[in-house]
Symmetry: C2
Subunit: 117 residues, 2 copies
């Protein structure tokens, strides 16, 4: 019991089903059945994956009638992003790339206040 948070998060992400669940949650809340639908596995299996994501604090649950909607809780991803910081200098080969990286984020945000470009 009581693994460190980063390990729990990485571990939760080390499964394609769980990553697919997270990806689908980027478009909003979903019920368990909604989430289970695309997968070739039983509901209890999906329930278990959700439990893993919940324990890793990547998913929040609520209650609406007989549904238990799931919502993305992205904070632990931020921690990973920060952890990654110590390695960026090793895989961002040139500092110029930062520029295109910036643009990429901006595009994603659909925000155009013309920062450096």
């Amino acid at each position: 019991m009581s693994r460190d948070q980063l390990s729990t998060t990485f571990s939760a992400l080390a499964d394609p089903t769980r990553r697919a669940i997270l990806a689908r949650l980027t478009t909003g809340e979903k019920t368990v059945s909604d989430l289970a639908e695309p997968f070739d596995m039983t509901m209890p299996a999906v329930t278990k994956h959700l439990k893993v994501l919940e324990k890793a604090n990547l998913v929040e649950r609520s209650r609406q009638a007989q549904y238990r909607p799931c919502k993305l809780h992205p904070e632990p991803l931020k921690d990973i992003d920060e952890w990654m910081g110590q390695y960026r200098q090793f895989f961002e080969e040139s500092f110029d790339r930062l520029d295109s990286y910036l643009n990429k984020i901006q595009t994603k945000k659909e925000n155009d206040d013309g920062n450096k470009k």
Copy 2:
């Protein structure tokens, strides 16, 4: 066999010993004994961790006399960083923070060409 690359990478990172090994490799090549030294575990355990990192393509091995030096191979981290892209908009709460993020990277790179400040 044959898990997807992203799962293999996340899985390799889901262990504090392995993350500590990677961190120590940022300062250059190390032998297995070097790497094992700080940990309270036997050599074969470290060898196994290295094997996991090697299979995940996060570490490269070479040969020098009876040593098998280990070297950081950061490419798979880049893949994770790119995967993270789809979630950044969810955890970078305001666009302003991008600015401090930028500065953080710059500082880390110990590069001061005064980009937006």
